[in-house]
């Protein structure tokens, strides 16, 4: 069984949580809440902490990695059926990452390039990483996060140029509570991508200490998403942020520090690319590993080839353009993520709690019974 260090798992979780919101959350929250978008991130602290607790509870009370733990707690038949659904839910995140990457490149960096070529360029390294194994993938992700995350944050801070106007965050009052609820729900749905910890946690050296790393990841996610949402608003205002395709990229494009540091959008691209590779590789691994668990296969790696083709073709088939991608990111995927990655694990908590309690009761009855 492959082993991950705690820092590797930390990096994997950070990349699964932070990459997609870094690219798209500013626009989506500006569309829903205008200048109050950052409040939705603060509002998601409580749901996020609840999710961390749920995942930690499931991890510490299960002997098998997800989705094997579904069979352990819900029975083999129901466990396999729900596990089968999860294969496709994880696969959907793979496709979503691919589409987002391809559209980011097509709209900003290489307009006019065939989408199939772009997809091949991002699928090939992830394919090789997965065929090599989880440990190699985790090492690459560790390197990527340790180098790219600080750079990504630095690029955001460079966006605070002379045109920055903090009053664009005002007025603080006069916001729609329903819109705030919608924003909190959206941010929470992307926090639920932390569900990969249920699959990867058991590979860790010290699963009992995982809560610290999960909390650290959640804290860093809050910080980076807060920065990624606030900085475009103070730089461009909420209206302009909501109509730009990728506001963060425009921040990098407009950056000019003392007429010395400028034209740094290529650095932004070189930060986003490995980030997308990481989230793709991680969810692709979880897809194949889930299929291995559900079908009882000997090795997950035999499925990497067929799923590579499926992912590449589905990325072109499922989402025709960036307009529909944003509708899906904002209104369809959050439903899928919340139901499968948050509500269903939350439903398992009372099931496990009842099972444990029943076991404790029967143990205490056995002890209390007089010896024959």
């Amino acid at each position: 069984m492959a082993r991950l260090t705690n820092i590797q798992l930390f990096c994997i979780l950070l990349v699964t949580l932070a990459v997609t919101p870094y690219q798209v959350m500013a626009k989506m929250l500006a569309m829903i809440l205008a200048q109050h978008g950052w409040m939705a991130i603060l509002g998601s602290v409580l749901p996020g902490l609840l999710l961390v607790w749920i995942y930690y509870y499931l991890l510490t009370n299960s002997s098998r990695p997800f989705p094997g733990m579904l069979e352990e707690h819900l029975g083999p038949v129901l466990g396999k059926i729900i596990g089968f659904v999860y294969i496709w839910a994880f696969f959907l995140v793979v496709v979503m990452s691919l589409v987002l990457f391809a559209n980011f490149f097509l709209s900003n960096v290489l307009p006019g390039m065939p989408i199939s070529i772009l997809l091949i360029f991002i699928i090939l390294p992830a394919f090789y990483a997965l065929r090599t194994g989880l440990e190699a993938t985790a090492r690459v992700v560790e390197l990527i996060v340790l180098t790219a995350y600080p750079l990504a944050m630095l690029l955001l801070l460079f966006g605070l140029g002379p045109e920055t106007d903090w009053s664009r965050l005002l007025p603080l009052g006069h916001f729609d509570m329903a819109a705030l609820g919608n924003g909190v729900w959206l941010v929470s749905s992307y926090i639920s991508l932390m569900v990969v910890v249920l699959t990867l946690g058991p590979f860790c050296h010290q699963p009992r200490l995982l809560w610290r790393w999960m909390l650290a990841v959640f804290g860093m996610f809050l910080f980076s998403t807060l920065a990624a949402v606030i900085i475009p608003i103070v730089a461009y205002g909420p209206v302009l942020t909501s109509i730009q395709t990728f506001p963060i990229f425009n921040i990098a494009r407009a950056t000019d520090v003392a007429n010395f540091i400028h034209n740094i959008e290529i650095i932004m691209v070189s930060v986003v690319m490995p980030g997308v590779f990481s989230i793709l590789a991680i969810f692709w691994f979880v897809t194949c590993y889930s299929a291995q668990q559900v079908f009882g296969l000997q090795d997950y790696r035999i499925l990497v080839g067929p799923t590579a083709i499926m992912a590449g073709v589905s990325a072109v088939l499922l989402v025709p353009n960036i307009h529909f991608l944003y509708i899906m990111l904002q209104q369809i995927f959050p439903w899928i993520f919340i139901i499968l990655f948050a509500i269903l694990p939350a439903f398992m908590v009372p099931v496990i709690w009842l099972k444990l309690r029943r076991r404790q009761d029967s143990d205490s009855k056995k002890k209390a019974a007089p010896p024959k």
Partner: protein, 67 residues
Amino acid sequence: MFTALFFLLVALLVAIDVPDLRRQKLNKDLAVYTIFMLAAIYLAMVQFYHWPFFNPLLMAAMRMQSP
């Protein structure tokens, strides 16, 4: 041309994966591999030849888009 390249890729993947599975007599693994590969080929054919394809995500997105 693109179809030929695609089937060359499929043949390459099959040549890498299948002999090991057959040597170890992992019949269940081979069956699952075949089903996934057939699904991949079907999706590719849908894309190449514009076969009809039910896309629930796109249908939901079209309903949700503002007029």
